[in-house]
């Protein structure tokens, strides 16, 4: 015990990736005396909660609900701020986001890319139509809030271009 706990950072990273890919909230492995547990807290659904009086029923957290999970890492408060960000690019429709024109191709833009007004930032697929989401202004891509395959709802923050 005084030797410190031995651990394999790669194994933990791998579990973290599995957690993320599978939409689980917790994985625990036990083998003899060893135990590895990785967990993450899903962010609650964004802004709409604010208008709700304290007492009234809250929808149960729905781990399988893509809409509620669309914003991956940031905490709820941050996602509210993003929704008001002057550089916000929000989804104009319900659909699935794609960062690249085709699988295996490089993404339209990357974090830090300089973009011109009207340049395609990503695609949102709805009803088998791929809709180009274009930069509303010239600037730098400072946040990418979705990944390829993320389901997005109307008005959901996609990127910040400032």
């Amino acid at each position: 015990m005084s030797n410190g706990i031995q651990f394999d950072p790669e194994a933990i990273r791998a579990l973290a990736q599995i957690l993320k890919d599978t939409d689980l909230t917790e994985i625990e492995l036990v083998e003899k005396d060893s135990r590895i547990r990785v967990a993450r807290t899903l962010p609650p659904a964004p802004a709409m909660q604010m208008a709700w009086p304290a007492g009234l029923p809250q929808a149960a957290p729905a781990p399988a609900a893509p809409a509620a999970m669309a914003s991956p890492a940031p905490a709820a408060e941050e996602s509210i701020d993003l929704a008001k960000h002057p550089g916000l690019v929000a989804s104009p429709m319900v659909g699935v986001a794609y960062l690249a024109p085709e699988p295996g191709q490089p993404p339209f833009v990357a974090l830090g890319s300089r973009v011109t007004q009207g340049q395609t930032l990503l695609l949102v697929e709805a009803m088998k139509t791929f809709n180009q989401i274009k930069a509303p202004r010239a600037g730098t891509v400072t946040r990418i809030l979705i990944e390829t395959g993320t389901p997005v709802e109307y008005g959901e923050p996609l990127m910040i271009v400032e």
């Binding site: 659904a45 802004a47 709409m48 208008a51 709700w52 009086p53 009234l56 029923p57 809250q58 929808a59 149960a60 729905a62 399988a64 609900a65 893509p66 809409a67 509620a68 429709m93 319900v94 659909g95 699935v96 709805a126 009803m127 389901p151 709802e153 109307y154 008005g155 959901e156």
Partner: protein
């Protein structure tokens, strides 16, 4: 086919109604909503929610692509359209099915057939359902209108073939009024529906509006759940509905029910529907069929002891009805008051924040409402905010129960029609069941004149 998750393509009290039925059946729900409804009760209670567009219904609740995308993204098995919005849009129903979802409602071809009032009447005539006398179809000319009017006798009504909601509808009390009625109805029809086809029928001067609730499974079984009397209307909007009608007895109910269920069985109808009739002097005249759940379905549920939305879900999943007509019993009497966010005298809409909401309680009282204290009624949609439904052993008990529960109910911060409903319940003519479809307009006029 198992339905495990239902997308509710509607808002307000009916979205909550559908959510409740799903939840009690262990079915997960997806609420789709506009940005104006982000804090709505059904959105909060649903298992999942997807914002599908901005406040205008055209860009959200009528946005077929957004709704189908939301269904695909959330992995819904079925879509319930509620009433209004896309519920009677045959193209929508077709697209839902084409995308592999279950449409909780009738077959698209029947929605289309009943959406065309002339086709609906043709079908019902062919199937032996009684109709109001009139032109067999669209009128070719004013001359034909004159001929038919002379046959069925004045007063007559000229109506848009594509119409609804009272637009493109004109009365001619005698021959001298016919030409103007014809012209105005056509002009309105053209303006409202882009189609100036009109037809003519006998104008019943003191009818009641009585409708029959039906349900069909996909195995050829059709039953009815008795009638609702929805004569209390203002500008063709129902305000108060009863089950059963104060003027019908069991023999009349059974006779109409037998005609209608036979007709729908021949048609191969599916899921819930309502046939609307005018009734006068013991005669029924079919006017239209609504191929969806109706606002006033709770009164039927309360006298029959069934949950119509659960039945819709069962039938949509391919289950058999599992009971026959003889097992459907009618117990007591039920009345529904539609409470709207409107001034009770002028009927001007009154959206806004509800500072205090308090629902009445106790025996025989049911409230279907998506209100809560602090909720803001948005200005973008229908003004219906609550349905107060009571059941009593007798009609008199139901009225007494409505009086006491209307007096208990509080919706503060906005104007509502609660005072109007209380006045109706206190009226001796209403209490006697002595009314026609014109009664409410006259009652409102008297009330406003009396001050």
């Amino acid at each position: 086919m198992k339905i495990g998750k239902v997308l509710i393509a509607n808002r307000g009290e009916i979205a909550l109604r559908i959510h409740r039925a799903c939840q009690e059946m262990g079915i997960r729900t997806v609420a789709v909503h506009s940005t104006a409804d982000a804090a709505a009760m059904h959105v909060r209670l649903a298992d999942e929610s997807v914002c599908i567009g901005p406040p205008p219904a055209r860009e959200s609740y009528l946005n077929v692509a957004a709704i189908l995308s939301a269904a695909a993204i959330t992995g819904a098995d079925a879509i319930h359209p509620g009433y209004g919005f896309l519920s009677e849009n045959a193209n929508f129903a077709e697209m839902v099915e084409a995308h592999g979802f279950v449409f909780i409602g009738p077959r698209p071809e029947h929605i289309r057939m009943m959406g065309d009032k002339i086709a609906a009447k043709d079908a019902m005539r062919r199937l032996g359902v009684p109709l109001v006398p009139g032109s067999p179809g669209a009128l070719a000319s004013l001359e034909e209108a004159r001929q038919v009017a002379a046959e069925v006798k004045y007063p007559v009504l000229i109506k848009a073939a594509a119409g609804g909601g009272g637009r493109g509808m004109k009365v001619a009390r005698d021959e001298s009024e016919l030409e103007e009625a014809w012209r105005v109805a056509r002009t309105e029809a053209k303006a409202a529906f882009g189609d100036d086809a009109v037809y003519l029928e006998k104008y019943l001067d003191r009818p009641r509006h009585i409708e029959l609730q039906v349900l069909a499974d996909t195995h050829g079984h059709v039953v009815h759940f008795g009638e609702r009397d929805c004569s209390l209307q203002r500008r063709h909007q129902k305000l108060v509905e009863e089950a059963g009608s104060p003027v019908l007895d069991a023999a009349q109910r059974n006779a109409l029910g037998a005609q209608v269920t036979r007709a729908l069985q021949q048609l191969g109808y599916r899921n819930a529907g309502t046939l609307e009739f005018l009734w006068q002097d013991g005669q029924f005249a079919f006017i239209e069929m609504n191929t969806r759940l109706q606002v006033e379905h709770p009164v039927t549920e309360m006298v029959c002891g069934i949950d119509l939305v659960k039945e819709q879900l069962r039938v949509a999943a391919g289950e058999r009805l599992g009971y026959g007509q003889s097992e459907i019993r009618f117990q007591g009497h039920a009345i529904e008051c539609r409470i709207t966010a409107e001034n009770p005298d002028t009927f001007l809409p009154s959206p806004g924040r509800v500072t205090t909401y308090h629902a009445p309680g106790g025996l025989g009282v049911r409230v279907d409402s998506a209100l809560y204290s602090g909720y803001a009624v948005p200005p973008h949609y229908d003004s219906l905010i609550a349905k107060l439904v009571v059941h009593g052993a007798t009609r008199a008990e139901a009225i007494a129960r409505l009086r006491r529960s209307l007096a208990e109910m509080v919706v503060d911060g906005i104007e509502t029609t609660l005072p109007l409903h209380l006045a109706i319940m206190e009226d001796p003519e209403f209490q006697a069941g002595d009314y026609t479809i014109h009664w409410l307009e006259q009652f409102v006029a008297r009330r406003n004149a009396g001050g």
